[in-house]
Assembly symmetry: C2
Homo-oligomer: 101 residues x 2
DNA sequence: CTTAGGCTTGCCGCCATGGAAAATGACTTC
DNA sequence: GAAGTCATTTTCCATGGCGGCAAGCCTAAG
């Protein structure tokens, strides 16, 4: 069981939600995430970059099928490292909520 | 049972910890809280003000006992409103952790 | 009146955040 | 293969939070 560890990078509201969503889904499409969060392309892109720089999120772009209307999709997912960090952060939050920290 | 409600004011790391601590203890001395959090007087004072402005925290200063070494103490505590808000915020965090939000 | 303790405020630098708009990159099309 | 599209990414810029130092205040004690 991972140690509780408060993570400033994850704590920011938008990034916390991103991690929560990615933690449940195996992966999510950039556009879907952006709409779910109700933020702009630019904003999501920057938060994803922040998380990717910490190796918490991985990005993979579908080369797309040859045929016309096949959208190009950017898939986002939490890396194992990201899952651990998120779990540790959640634990830190629980400790705070219970006033154990 | 209160609704889950994400509260930006409470979410800031230092304030989240302040609320967590005050939520458990009935009230805490300014100095103790400052040392527990490991921050400066100024910083704690400003965060407390922020919370007080939202009516989450109440401040009461002991007039002190007449006798000499009786320290003047500033007691801080979570108001009922503050407790509800904190509980609601914690619930919002749980929802995010479980990806229900 | 002067001190001293203890919180509060003003000041200032620094970094985070968000969106609009310009810039990219990777296909499609003609 | 030049031009167009679409889906992000970056740049630019304005706004606002945060922290500490130092000065200010207030209250109680000399």
């Amino acid at each position: 069981m991972t140690e509780a560890r408060f993570d400033e990078t994850i704590h920011a509201p938008v990034r916390l939600r991103i991690c929560g969503l990615l933690n449940k889904a195996d992966r999510l499409d950039f556009a879907v995430l952006r709409d779910t969060l109700g933020i702009s392309d630019a904003t999501l892109s920057k938060h994803i970059k922040t998380l990717a720089d910490s190796h918490y999120v991985t990005i993979s772009k579908s080369s797309s099928a040859k045929r016309t209307d096949a959208r190009r999709v950017t898939w986002l997912s939490l890396s194992p490292t990201g899952r651990s960090a998120f779990a540790a952060h959640v634990r830190a939050l629980q400790d705070i909520a219970d006033s154990r920290a």
